[in-house]
């Protein structure tokens, strides 16, 4: 088990659980970050935060603060 924020660029991981604050968690779930979903960090912004992730064929950007509360498996 690792945190999403620790995954290196272009490494694939799978969502295990989200431990963010309720509202944010909900939003992430609605965007499709449910258990087992494949997610891949693809690039960082110039200051290193936020990071853009590839998920379900689209890109979303997530702040590192949140990414560190998302638990993933690398399988």
């Amino acid at each position: 088990m690792q945190k999403l924020g620790q995954i290196a660029l272009n490494q694939t991981a799978y969502i295990d659980s989200i431990e963010c604050e309720e509202n944010i968690k909900r939003r992430l779930l609605e965007l499709g970050l449910i258990q087992g979903t494949k997610i891949k960090p693809v690039f960082k912004s110039p200051l290193g935060d936020p990071t853009a992730y590839e998920i379900r064929g689209t890109l979303i950007s997530i702040r590192n603060e949140e990414a560190n509360r998302i638990i993933v498996k690398t399988r």
Partner: protein, 409 residues
């Protein structure tokens, strides 16, 4: 908004537009999928549109005349969902739920159908006469994404129309579909999501404990129960008020809920996750059926990012830095041959595009290098960095500041 009066067969005056209309149609969808562009094309209005999300923050109405009949179209703010509580989501949800609409058009992005369908499912759960409009078909084609619209229509059980906002012909088909829908005698319901057997049983139990208003459709009854299960206090209060039913003072119901919540899997958080999970899985399945990616690597060409959790603090300084660079190019760079400049822009374009959308700066960069249309232009013949372009961008920039800060959490 002037939408308090409802047209029941008779024509009604629209306060804002001073014109009579017979049908009222909502235009919903994710941010940046072309809702306003389609709205403008149909109503002849000039709502602000642009290549960044969140431009429309309140409902805008306009009249569209088709086959001599007037339709009131309502452009509602773009949202990814109607469940969590941002201001836009509330406006959109309340409007769709509590306005007697003749139809709701949900515009979805053909290039990322999966995410768009989440909203479609949610809207089908709360209202009848939904029409799905798959827009940006030209972009999808460029990215070699094929969508089987007929099959999607069959799976969802509601009309599906494919459009390219600039092509009038495709919009005509959309209007024909709307016409057919509002004129049909019976209101149509899509194939809504079925939850696990356990949850469905509880839904039935709760439904039996509520005394509904006689005018409520079975769909509305079910949606109300889902909101009770979900435990969203605010929406429950609104439902009680608007639909005149008792929930919080319904003792039998409250006792039942209290017992129910003692089971772990029916605690607010668990049940919420479960409901969302079911919807996400369903849309995943649907996409497996109807979307074909002919080129797996399509992502690499021109990435578009959805700003979900971007940092508020750094956005503006970076934007200012960008502005500085642009001004510099205007003053100094204008002396460089355009070839050099186009090489420069060509090289950093992909990076710029991704980066810019991360911070929502296309607002003002739009006029310069990374607009969807501009990026296809012949770079040699026209130099991007014209003074005019920059002044224009600056205006965009100032205008965009407002919408810019709003979209981040």
């Amino acid at each position: 908004m002037g939408l308090t009066v409802k047209s029941t067969g008779n024509q009604v005056f629209s306060k804002t537009n001073k014109k009579k209309y017979r049908y009222q149609i909502a235009i919903a969808g994710n941010p940046n999928v072309g809702k306003s562009t389609i709205f403008n094309a149909l109503t002849g209005m000039k709502q602000h549109t642009g290549n960044w999300p969140g431009k429309t923050v309140e409902n805008t109405t306009g009249i569209c005349t088709f086959h001599k009949e007037n339709y009131l179209l309502v452009d509602i703010p773009g949202t990814y969902s109607l469940m969590s509580n941002s201001e836009e989501e509330e406006i959109a949800r309340d409007y769709i739920c509590f306005t007697p609409l003749d139809a709701t058009v949900v515009i979805v992005d053909a290039t990322c159908l999966e995410r768009s369908l989440n909203l479609v499912e949610q809207i089908m759960e709360m209202t009848q006469n939904v029409i799905v409009c798959v827009n940006l078909l030209d972009e999808a084609q460029k990215k070699k994404i094929e969508i089987n619209l007929k099959k999607l229509e069959k799976i969802l059980g509601v009309p599906v129309v494919g459009t390219i906002a600039k092509k009038k012909k495709t919009l005509r088909i959309l209007m024909e579909t709307i016409e057919k829908t509002v004129k049909s005698k019976k209101k149509q319901e899509g194939k809504i999501i079925k939850y696990s057997q356990e949850i469905e049983e509880v839904i039935m139990n709760i439904q039996n404990k509520i005394e509904y208003h006689s005018s409520q459709t079975s769909l509305q009854k079910r949606w109300c129960v889902l909101k009770i299960l979900d435990g969203d206090e605010k929406i429950i209060q609104t439902i009680e008020k608007k639909q005149q039913i008792k929930i919080q003072k319904n003792e039998e119901l409250q006792n039942y809920l209290q017992k129910l919540r003692q089971q772990k899997e029916f605690q607010k958080q668990y049940i919420r996750d479960k409901l969302i999970n079911t919807i996400v899985k369903e849309t995943e399945e649907i996409c497996k059926e109807v979307v074909i990616f002919h080129e797996e690597d399509y992502q690499k060409k021109g990435r578009k990012i959805d700003k979900i959790l971007t940092s508020k603090i750094w956005g503006i300084p970076i934007m200012l830095a960008f502005l500085g660079i642009i001004l510099w190019i205007t003053i100094i760079g204008a002396n460089y041959p355009s070839q050099v400049l186009s090489a420069f822009f060509g090289k950093i374009q992909e990076y710029l595009e991704a980066w810019a959308s991360l911070y929502e700066i296309p607002v003002w960069l739009k006029g310069i290098a990374i607009d969807r249309n501009l990026s296809n232009r012949n770079m040699d013949s026209s130099c991007y960095a014209t003074t005019y372009g920059n002044i224009l961008s600056f205006i965009y920039f100032i205008r965009g500041l407002g919408s810019f800060t709003k979209n981040c959490i």
